[in-house]
Amino acid sequence: MKRYLVVLITIAMLISMVPVLGLAGAQDDMTIVVIGKSVHPYWSNVELGVKAAGEALGLPEDQVIFFVPPREDVAAQIQAMETYIAAGVTGIAIAPSDPAALEPVMARAAEAGIWVTTLDTPPVEDSVSTVYIGTDNFTAGTIAGEAMLQLLPDGGKVGIGRGSDTALNALQRTDGFLAAIEGSNIEALEPVNDREDFGTALQLANSVISANPDLAGAFGVYAYNGPAWATAVTEADMVGDIKVVAFDATTDHINFIMSGAIQATVAQREYDMGYQSVMVIAALAQNEDTEAVLAEFGAVEGVIDTGVDVLTPANVKDYEAGLDEKGVPHEWTTADWEPAEDAFEFVMPEEEEAAEMEEAVATEEAAE
């Protein structure tokens, strides 16, 4: 019995060394690693962007590596970083599940002469990360809040559904949303926590709608929360009466936008995050002047903002055209569907502010 165990352990150790050995062999060339957070459609899209960038650079497949742990797992990310540091890769782009916990190992990578960048989640202040690529969750949350403001000009009660009370992305999105609606007539209920479970999310959405007959809106923090609200709103026969603002753009988000149960969903451009991460590291590794490279990619104060798309019935057809152009696959199609005449259209805050400013200037001038 013991002998078998020894054999098994040896085999396991050999297998675990294979990727490391493989990397060591490719060291002459460039090897770029992107580390995501969890198995999720969002990260699958990041992977598509990463692979597309690899192809654009003409790198062989095993030199553009995308790694995600099955669930959000800081320890697994640290372990992966250590493996790739030992392998001596060219650069690592990481989406830190916990920025503070990842910083020491990122610093070790930087010391070892590896380019370190971050994507999706900003690193700690004064991080070794050369550049951060993404839109942070707080900003995305404020945009969702802005959409809710535009949907509910008269205010009202709004339910919030999320998958965690402690995960940073959930907190930041919620805080951003709350910051945006602060001072308005919108009253946010206590967020309900489904512990990252779609079934529970729906259950809770049902309960919130049942408890608040005067519910005016609902905000879904995690990807499935939007569809959960939309299903509950549909079941309660209140489509359109309760405005749903969601996050991400999966097949069911689009289905519900078409059925009218979701009014707006904030989609981060995760494909671009993956693509840009690889491109930036490749450029950094090939050029002496870091600042010039970053400027070329449009970085401002160490941040390359990939922005968000706010999908509404009014623009979902354009969004599909945009995806087709990039070659991002999607299961849904809006081909047989047309938005209603009075479909909700979102105006980005900056544009709105700019418009307001212009208006203000115009009034001032008129007054003078």
Partner: protein, 354 residues
């Protein structure tokens, strides 16, 4: 079955003791309902709100029934939550995309359901074989499946939900989890049907007798000629089967097979059966108790949302309910029926002695 076997489980499955114990759970359940009705009279008892609670009980009660079978035989099944996700995905996948390995296109509703249920049951048999033939602790082998099923669910789908298309002609399947008969959800009716069958098996059949016997004293049951392995494998298969039923109902309800369901459902199912009086030491437990346990958790969850309770606090409260239930169960076990009789007997005897 020999005479010995009949003596192994005195009153453990009978209605006499069990009835008394469920009464406590029933009282707690009614008290809770009364409290929330008093707090929110215009909302709590609305049919739509009751349907919400019934749907909750349909999910966790179904899994709790499986746990009752296994926990009675001193086992545990940690895999049911992950298995719910996996079987839901399998069901949606074969109906929408077919079976790639066999080169089959999308298959119709009934065969898809049968395939899914069989897979669930086989996973249960697999657990049973490991537990009985290899003597591996149930905790470990089902923990393995917990990981494997969750991993497979993520791997098969790459994280994407398998969504039934918008107006895609799967209305029959979708009505299983979404539809209702006079505001009683079909899923709840299915649960009641399964609960009745399970109760008949446990309380009125030879097989049920053996289940309690195995849980009461494994060696004694074996010596008395019961095929204990087969009984235990049956229990694990039941749990796997019911996880598949839950997976199907969940996929139907959500209109998709998705890896983001089933997280920690096993813990809620175990909690429901323990609150309902199932003993983790084996040999004790009833289906009705487990359903009431699931009802208590469901009513509490619903009631706390009605009261706009902070979600941080909700988990604290639910955890405390579980602790209270277990402590109560342990204390109750110490004070046996005989002690109660002696206790009351002492009152009636004293005057005569004096």
């Amino acid at each position: 079955m020999s005479e010995v076997a009949r003596k192994i489980s005195p009153s453990r499955r009978g209605i006499s003791l069990a009835g008394f114990r469920e009464l406590n759970v029933l009282l707690a359940f009614l008290l809770l309902c009364g409290y929330f009705y008093y707090q929110h009279p215009d909302v709590f008892a609305k049919p739509a709100n009751l349907a919400i609670i019934m749907r909750f009980v349909a999910t966790f009660g179904m899994l709790a029934i499986g746990e009752v079978f296994i926990i009675i035989t001193t086992g545990i099944d940690l895999s049911v939550g992950s298995l719910t996700a996996l079987t839901g995905i399998i069901c949606a996948w074969v109906m929408l995309k077919g079976i790639g390995m066999l080169g089959m296109g999308p298959i119709p509703l009934v065969p898809a359901l049968i395939i899914t249920l069989i897979i669930g049951m086989l996973v249960g048999v697999w657990h049973g074989l490991f537990v009985t033939k290899l003597g591996i602790p149930a905790f470990i082998i089902t923990l393995g499946t917990w990981l494997i099923a969750r991993g497979l669910a993520a791997y098969i789908t790459k994280g994407y939900p398998v969504v039934f298309p918008y107006r895609g002609g799967h209305e029959t399947f979708l009505s299983l989890g979404q539809g209702s008969f006079r505001s009683i959800p079909y899923s709840f009716i299915i649960l009641i049907g399964i609960a009745i069958v399970a109760t008949i098996i446990l309380n009125y059949s030879k097989l049920g007798y053996r289940v309690y016997a195995v849980g009461g004293n494994l060696e004694a049951a074996r010596l008395s000629g019961i095929n204990v392995d087969r009984v235990r494998i049956f229990c694990y298969a039941t749990s796997g089967f019911l996880a598949a039923v839950t997976g199907i109902l969940m996929a139907s309800r959500l209109g998709q097979g998705t890896p983001t369901v089933g997280a920690s459902y096993e813990l809620w199912a175990i909690a429901a059966s323990v609150i309902g009086g199932t003993s983790l030491f084996g040999g004790e437990g009833t289906i009705l108790g487990a359903l009431l346990g699931a009802g208590i958790v469901g009513v509490m969850q619903n009631g706390m949302v009605l009261g706009n309770t902070s979600s941080y606090l909700q988990e604290v409260i639910l955890g405390m309910v579980l602790v209270i239930a277990v402590v109560y169960d342990t204390l109750r076990r110490r004070i046996t029926g005989a002690q109660i009789r002696t206790f009351f007997g002492s009152f009636s005897r004293k005057p005569r002695d004096a």
